[in-house]
Amino acid sequence: MGKVLEKKRLNEFLGEISKGADLIAPVKRGTLRFETVKDFDSICLEGRPLFPLKKFFSPAKRDVFGLTLTDKNKPFEENKPRIRQRIVFGARLCDFNGLLRLDKLFLSEEYKDDHYKLARENTLLLGINCDPPPSEYCFCESMDLERYYDLFFHDLGDKYYIEVGSLKGKALVKGLEDYDFSIPPIKCDKKLDRKDIAHYYEDPTWEKENEKCLSCGKCTAHCTTCLCFDVEDKMDVNLNKGRRFKEWDSCQFLNFTLVAGGYVFRKERLARFKHRIYHKLQYFREKFGLDMCTGCGRCIEACPRLIDFTDVVNKFK
């Protein structure tokens, strides 16, 4: 049992719930992207943004400390995260499931990233169902995604059925009419044969697909769950003030495993390609019990050579 909202009242509804908060939704400006929305008419629910939602939780570049070298007692000035309340509307289950994966690393038992924690606490997740999947490269049906959201919208033509997923979500829709509907599971044309890929590490099919790879890193940039980052100090011209910042990095780059002295531990492009896929489909699962990959297909779609790891895995007998 959920709620119903007429499509013509969507903007009114969004306006109500986003008072005092930022609304993040897919917007078409040349390309489809998640953006903070001012004009609700600019929201576009056709297709899905190629760039994932992760940038609002783990930004591409973020100052962790301000540096003042002349202050010998306190050269590090903590950059406390400040994040307004946000509502995400119109993202798909792959993006919300991506957050569940990022949680495992950024909100672990021992160490929690302050910015990410605040971002998660201050964000409501309003998803939209995929009927049909927004991209030919989607294969989330093969990936055991969770129905994870505060609210979940399903298009019924002239109205939306809204499934409630949390108490916070329930509070947003308490003024709406009840409606009974059962959202069917997502069906994708593209499939990934789920199997244990551990003993296929040396299979030559990996190399054939990897021949096209340029190590450009678009796959990791666009991946819903890739989060690897670098930490660097950068000084201003005065050499006194500066910052220590986090910045996205990619395991596909040659220098990802470079140590001082010049040795590179993962030198071959093929090894770097395999490391990413094995991390997504095996290593993460061994540690946390779920696949890191959410089946969004972004890495395939973004790749300049359309490298498709599902083709490789599906070939293994």
Binding site: F76, C228, F229, R244, T257, L258, G261
Partner: protein, 266 residues
């Protein structure tokens, strides 16, 4: 806050070899806490404006930390320029330690190559205090040449209280000590694997050949502990740089039991 570091000051600086110094650090603030690091663990040493580097502890104390630092990159080259009284910012300790509690009652075969001897010195400093817990302690340390031999003062002490086998790869004609690869010395030792645990640390290729030698002596894979190093940034199992297969060297290591990591792809 996750990446916050605390200030330490250098109280002693001793040259060990070319571009290699042993630094003793004490907490710089007025409020001092009991340090709780264990051998095998590391700290991220931070120099504001330059960056951070993971450095293994090579001591065992509640009051000070000792690092053996060789200048190879931006941070380490700056660290060796510092003098007593200067500050280094540390966060940690991070990583897994040598399981000294579980190793009680075993004889230890400790094999180190070059700067790999540093984390093993941490183990020895522990053993200097808790000597009786381990039956026999056999040391096999190899360095490139006599000038690169580290911890020369400690070596004298260790020669007295442990079974020290020191060697260098190459030496000039006048050199009186043993010359030969450390793996060869281990092989000739005639040690068996009964009730023994091997702790190995050094360059990747040295560890690879040392394992082969230990296998020849009959050691099982769960009787060997290794210590790895990789590029590290966060030090707490988030940034991904130090991953070997599914393991984070900074969180699941740096100390690994060999049977757990054998055959893993990079």
């Amino acid at each position: 806050m996750l990446f916050s570091a605390t200030p330490f000051k250098i109280v002693k600086k001793e040259k060990q070899a070319d571009k290699t110094y042993l630094l003793r650090l004490e907490q710089a603030g007025k409020k001092k806490t009991r340090l709780s690091y264990k051998p095998g663990e590391f700290y991220e040493a931070s120099i504001p404006g330059i960056g951070e580097a993971p450095i293994s502890v090579c001591s065992y104390s509640r009051d000070f930390i000792e690092f053996n630092i060789r200048g190879v990159g931006d941070v380490t080259n700056k660290l060796i320029e510092l003098e007593t009284g200067d500050r280094i910012w540390l966060r940690g300790p991070y990583g897994t330690s040598y399981p000294m509690e579980e190793l009680k009652g075993n004889s230890l075969v400790i094999i180190g190559g070059g700067t790999g001897v540093a984390p093993l010195r941490g183990v020895l400093k522990y053993l200097e205090k808790y000597r009786a817990e381990n039956d026999r302690v056999h040391l096999f340390f190899g360095f490139r040449n006599p000038d690169e031999t580290l911890f020369k003062d400690d070596m004298k002490q260790w020669d007295r209280i442990f079974d020290l086998n020191l060697t260098v790869d190459k030496a000039d004609k006048g050199y009186k000590g043993r010359v030969g690869l450390v793996t060869q010395i281990v092989e000739k030792s005639g040690l068996d694997n009964k009730n023994k645990v091997a702790l190995v640390c050094g360059p990747p290729i040295m560890m690879k050949f040392t394992i082969k030698t230990l296998e020849k002596l009959g050691f099982n894979h769960d009787q060997i502990f290794l210590s790895f190093e990789r590029r590290m940034k966060c030090g707490v199992g988030m940034c991904g740089h130090c991953m070997i297969s599914g393991f984070y060297v900074c969180k699941d290591g740096p100390v690994f039991r060999y049977d757990k990591v054998r055959g893993l792809p990079e």
